[in-house]
């Protein structure tokens, strides 16, 4: 057992996280610009996955339009900073808020719908947002796209991928902090409650409508921030970046990583962003190997990559013992 804990996270996890953070800070200067870019992309995907996982994995609301909120964040950040001349460091949080407001609006139909019906509504939202991007070229650049410059910090433009990587790392850490705090709070427990049993949740004074709306708002906020960072990282955005395939990728991140788990969001996004690059070695078999690995993970670890650690630990400690005890207790109770 661990001797200390931080925000309910065990001491061992804190040490492990601190070690990872040290590596994330110290290693990049020894790598090239391509790796900085890839690492930045992976961290943005971590932010996207954390936001979506809170909505879907914790609060139980299916969404296939996470990329639309990413788009709202990306275009809002670009518009506010380029066209309105707002500082990037104000435009980015403002874009997060604009995205959160959009999430609030999408949340209303979700109050009446669930499961497949909700999924279809979110697909509709994605279609509408795609059409809006194309039909508002004055703001978005339309189908031809719009360029989104790197921000400046203390008078220096963060033109190198390394410097922008550190900005994205800092914002990813802030996202992790907020997500961990949220899931260990009355709000986070309310999310879990409405996913598990709406009836029980309500009889414990959890308001169904407000709680669902809060989940949509928070998820959209994270996606908006991720989108704003994405725009500046890649430097140019067009509607194709935010299509349904991007949303599906985000869903794959959280399913492969582990639904309802922050660690799962991080693992899923990091592994699935980096893996395709590693698999370039397989040339024309790249997609085939990638798909095969996904299937293997989901068959071996149905609860996602996050369940790998506990599974290994159970194996090492001569596992299965606790399970059989529980099974015996269960049959005795019946």
């Amino acid at each position: 057992m661990s001797d200390f804990s931080l925000m309910g996270v065990s001491g061992r996890a804190v040490i492990f996280g601190a070690a990872l953070l040290l590596l994330a800070l110290a290693l990049p200067p020894f790598f090239g610009s391509y790796h900085h870019y890839l690492a930045s992309l992976a961290l943005i995907n971590v932010i996207m996955a954390i936001g979506l996982n809170i909505l879907t994995g914790n609060a139980g609301q299916i969404s296939l339009c996470n990329s639309s909120f990413m788009a709202i964040g990306a275009y809002a950040t670009t518009y506010l900073s380029v066209k309105l001349g707002l500082s990037y460091w104000l435009a980015l949080p403002a874009a997060g808020v604009i995205s959160a407001i959009s999430g609030f609006l999408l949340g209303f139909p979700a109050l009446r719908l669930r499961g497949f019906y909700l999924a279809v509504v979110t697909l509709g939202f994605l279609e509408v947002s795609q059409i809006l991007i194309e039909q508002l070229p004055g703001i978005t650049g339309g189908v031809r796209g719009i360029s989104s410059p790197r921000p400046a910090l203390l008078g220096h433009t963060l033109s190198s991928d390394l410097s922008f990587y550190y900005v994205i790392l800092a914002i990813t850490l802030a996202t992790l902090w907020c997500a961990y705090s949220l899931l260990r709070s009355p709000t986070g427990r309310a999310f879990e409650a409405i996913r598990s049993s709406e009836a029980a949740a309500q009889t414990l004074a959890v308001p169904l409508a407000q709680t669902k709306l809060a989940a949509f708002v928070i998820s959209a906020f994270f996606a908006g921030i991720g989108g704003g960072l994405f725009a500046s990282l890649v430097g140019f955005i067009d509607p194709l970046e935010f299509g349904v395939w991007t949303s599906v990728r985000h869903v794959v991140f959280i399913v492969v990583g582990g639904l309802g788990s922050i660690t799962g969001s991080v693992l899923g996004a990091l592994v699935l962003t980096v893996l395709p690059e590693v698999l370039r070695a397989f040339k024309e078999y790249q997609e085939f190997v990638f798909g095969g690995l996904l299937l293997v993970v989901l068959i071996v670890l149905p609860h996602g990559l996050v369940s790998l650690g506990p599974k290994i630990r159970a194996r090492l400690s001569g596992g299965g013992a606790t399970k059989s005890v529980i099974a015996a207790q269960r049959s005795a109770a019946e």
Binding site: S197, T203, I326, A333
Partner: protein, 258 residues
């Protein structure tokens, strides 16, 4: 003046009158039992009080204020707690998280504080955890704190359900078959807990129970439902002697044996 009352309440599902013009009144700290054959409308009665099913007529009052106009979560916040026959525990949460959810009505941190992880939120969280731990300790469940609820046996889940409801500090607590699926030791613990809850905590209890020995020894007043209607009420002795009650039970009993 009663603390809590159900007045002439009806619940209709399609064409079926699941609850028909039922009235009952409970004073503070009293224990009332609701009995009746299967399908008598007992669970529908408390579902209607919780607001999980709509009422077709009548009303529900707590402290003279109408509850039936409020949505379910506001009724809970007003002081109506309950447990479920099948212990609607959140299976992929730890036991402590389940019980802490019960304190939602008394949360000390706002959504923004929860999101930002302010020191105030951290303090509120520690306080909420302490309260939940005390409640689990009272049920002898402290060692299960960090266990995943879904891994625990049914009898334990029923006790967790009760602990979770109590953390919400209800004024009226409705228990749906609190001892079902329990062995004799567990049932005895729950019966003792009910006496403490009503006696020391002054929580008014409305208990649905199939086990006659349990409810007759526990309740001050018994209400008997049959086909959605209240056919009798009174002390356990009075109810046991009531010919209507005997007929309802024997009639159904012999039909079941046939």
């Amino acid at each position: 003046m009663s603390l809590f009352s159900i007045d002439n309440m009806s619940v209709i599902f399609g064409g079926l009158r699941a609850v028909s013009n039922v009235s009952l009144a409970l004073g503070e700290g009293e224990i009332h039992g609701v009995i009746g054959p299967n399908g008598a409308g007992k669970t529908s009665l408390i579902n209607a009080v919780s607001g999980l099913v709509p009422i077709a007529g009548g009303g529900i009052h707590l402290d003279g204020k109408p509850l039936h106009t409020l949505p379910p979560h506001r009724r809970a916040a007003a002081g109506i707690g309950r447990t479920f026959q099948h212990a609607e525990i959140f299976p992929d949460q730890t036991v402590i998280a389940n019980v802490m959810t019960g304190g939602f009505a008394h949360r000390q941190s706002s959504l923004l504080q929860d999101f930002l992880g302010t020191p105030g939120k951290a303090a509120a969280e520690r306080q909420a955890r302490r309260e939940a731990e005390q409640m689990l300790d009272a049920f002898g469940l402290l060692s299960f704190c960090d266990a995943l609820a879904g891994d625990l046996p049914f009898g334990t889940l029923k006790k967790i359900d009760l602990a979770r409801a109590l953390v919400g500090r209800p004024r009226v607590l409705m228990l749906d078959e609190p001892t079902s699926g329990m062995n004799d030791t567990e049932a005895a613990e729950v019966i003792a807990a009910c006496r403490r809850i009503a006696g020391e905590m002054r929580v008014t209890l409305l208990i649905i129970e199939h086990n006659m020995r349990v409810i007759m020894g526990l309740a001050n007043i018994i209400h008997v439902l049959d086909h959605g209607e209240k056919i009798a009420d009174g002390t356990p002795e009075e109810v046991q002697r009531n010919p209507l009650v005997i007929e309802a039970y024997l009639g159904h009993g012999s039909a079941a044996h046939a």
